[in-house]
């Protein structure tokens, strides 16, 4: 139940941060999306022999968080379950990986450790990069930006509505959990025996609320495309962000020689 609260707070915090007036929030969503895409593609393309590049590539994230005035506590908390999962998979490589040792700057580490480290770095980059985008750009602005790309409209609307409906699901779950807690104070948590029926009820109620939200959108003229949301920031700022990210990614991927470490 506390975790439901926390999840709702996380989403609200992201909405709050995206609504603030900072250098990042003023930039074009397309520029931010493009920069994240370049960053993630570069990170994904790095192999175990490029651990140093992966470390260096991630340095762009603290700069982004600083410019966006985003607190670190929440995103680091989001990392915990991801790192747990990735770490478990990566740990298996310590025993099963048969490849040669990999360079980490001036030293060499066993291949299994190299794979584990790479997986962890990629996970960190993905989670913190995506969080940075969501904390500086509202979903609605992102949807408008995505509409300018040759992507299926259904995909964009699904993405946006999934985010909005997720909040409804969590709120309904929180409401039901609170009602349970108040009406069954002697129970610690919800027993397994009835969790199935409660889950079904949760989905039904969330579906009803989602239906109401959708009806409200239709009644106010929504016909499958999201309207434009505000300004797109200065051209210089957008170019600086995208160009800077691209240059840094190219440097880390292509130009960085391993001997400087």
């Amino acid at each position: 139940m506390k975790s439901l609260h926390r999840a709702i707070e996380t989403i609200h915090l992201l909405d709050d941060l995206a609504g603030e007036d900072t250098f990042f929030t003023r930039l074009s969503p397309l520029a931010k999306l493009g920069s994240l895409f370049v960053f993630l593609v570069t990170l994904a393309s790095l192999g175990t022999d490029q651990l140093a590049s992966a470390f260096l590539l991630l340095l762009v994230l603290p700069a982004g968080y600083r410019l966006g005035r985003i607190p670190w506590k929440q995103p680091l908390r989001q990392l915990v379950p991801v790192l747990g999962m990735v770490g478990a998979i990566g740990l298996m490589n310590l025993f099963w990986f048969q490849g040669p040792p990999v360079p980490l700057g001036p030293v060499e580490v066993p291949g299994g450790i190299g794979v584990l480290l790479l997986l962890v770095l990629k996970a960190i980059g993905c989670v913190l990069g995506a969080y940075l985008l969501l904390a500086t750009t509202s979903l609605e602005k992102l949807a408008c930006a995505l509409q300018k790309l040759p992507l299926p409209q259904v995909l964009i609307i699904s993405l946006l509505l999934t985010w909005r409906y997720l909040v409804l699901l969590l709120q309904e779950g929180d409401r039901m959990a609170s009602a349970w807690r108040l009406r069954a104070p002697e129970n610690r948590g919800i027993p397994w025996k009835i969790s199935g029926s409660l889950l079904g009820l949760l989905f039904l109620r969330s579906l009803e609320r989602a239906q109401l939200v959708y009806e409200s959108m239709k009644l106010r003229g929504f016909q499958g495309r999201f309207p434009e949301q505000g300004t797109i920031g200065s051209l210089k700022g957008n170019l600086l962000l995208f160009g800077g990210t691209l240059a840094w990614c190219l440097f880390c991927r292509v130009c960085l020689p391993s001997f400087i470490f």
């Binding site: 609200h12 709050d16 509202s138 109401l212 009806e215 409200s216 239709k218 009644l219 106010r220 003229g221």
Partner: protein, 249 residues
């Protein structure tokens, strides 16, 4: 002047969920007319079909039998967008009506959808927020609003559309006395036709000139607000009571 709303022999029933089960009838042979600028209250006991009727009027439920014309247009799938542009609907649960992150973005949603220029959107949004007394909260996140503030935000969102017909489902629910009074003043000042479904008979007394009373799926009475709301025997026969101001406590 053409009527804003015309219902003729309207019938509606909810389909049965299981085979062999009878459908649930809601109302039958419902007919009335609403003229431009008229303020009409829709009252009846729980489950009589007030919310169902309002949903029918904006095409959220399918028209089964009868004729329905809204703002001069027959209610069909082709005319839904045009009718919805001319009508405003306030949900019973305003939490579900608000879907954008901030007050300003939600209130201006319909205007942006209509493709209006940014300046005009800003102007109309500010005007609507000022009308409901929320001008200082334009940048506030929706989740931080109280229940009453959410209701006022939902109403502001509809005022931007300058509707010809305003449909409201329990608008005074969750409002404190001050906001309730504010809402009464706002509705009195609006010149558009209004159809207000409410259990708050005092609110209906304050805002409506005419009242339609539904009971047992039929129109029991359609008369002036004063005549209907002061008729104790009529109200009690339909599962209601006199407004609080007329009750001797």
């Amino acid at each position: 002047m053409a009527a804003i709303l015309t219902l003729s022999q309207l019938q509606f029933q909810y389909p049965s969920l299981r085979p062999g089960q009878d459908p649930v009838p809601v109302f039958h042979d419902l007919s009335f007319v609403l003229e431009a600028g008229e303020k009409v209250g829709l009252i009846g006991s729980n489950g009589v079909g007030k919310s169902t009727l309002l949903k029918l009027l904006v095409g959220l439920l399918p028209l089964q039998e009868g004729c329905l014309s809204v703002c001069g247009l027959p209610l069909t799938e082709q005319t839904f967008p045009a009718i919805r542009r001319k009508t405003g609907y306030v949900f019973q649960d305003s939490e579900s009506q608000l879907f954008m992150p901030t007050v300003e973005s939600d209130v201006s949603f319909a205007l942006r959808n209509a493709g209006l220029p940014a300046e005009e959107v800003e102007q109309k949004t500010e005007k609507a927020l000022a009308q409901v007394g929320m001008e200082g909260l334009a940048r506030r996140q929706i989740y931080r609003l109280s229940g009453g503030q959410k209701k006022l935000t939902a109403i502001a969102g509809l005022l931007t559309q300058e509707p010809d017909l305003l449909l409201m489902d329990e608008p005074s629910a969750a409002l404190d006395p001050r906001n309730r009074r504010k809402l009464v003043e706002i509705l009195r000042q609006l010149s558009c036709a209004q159809l207000i479904a409410s259990h708050d008979l005092d609110f209906i007394w304050d805002t409506c000139d005419r009242v339609i009373l539904l009971a047992d799926g039929r129109l029991q009475e359609d008369s002036s607000a004063h005549d209907v709301l002061s008729n104790q025997s009529l109200l009690e026969s339909c599962g209601l009571e006199l407004p609080l101001r007329l009750q001797k406590i």
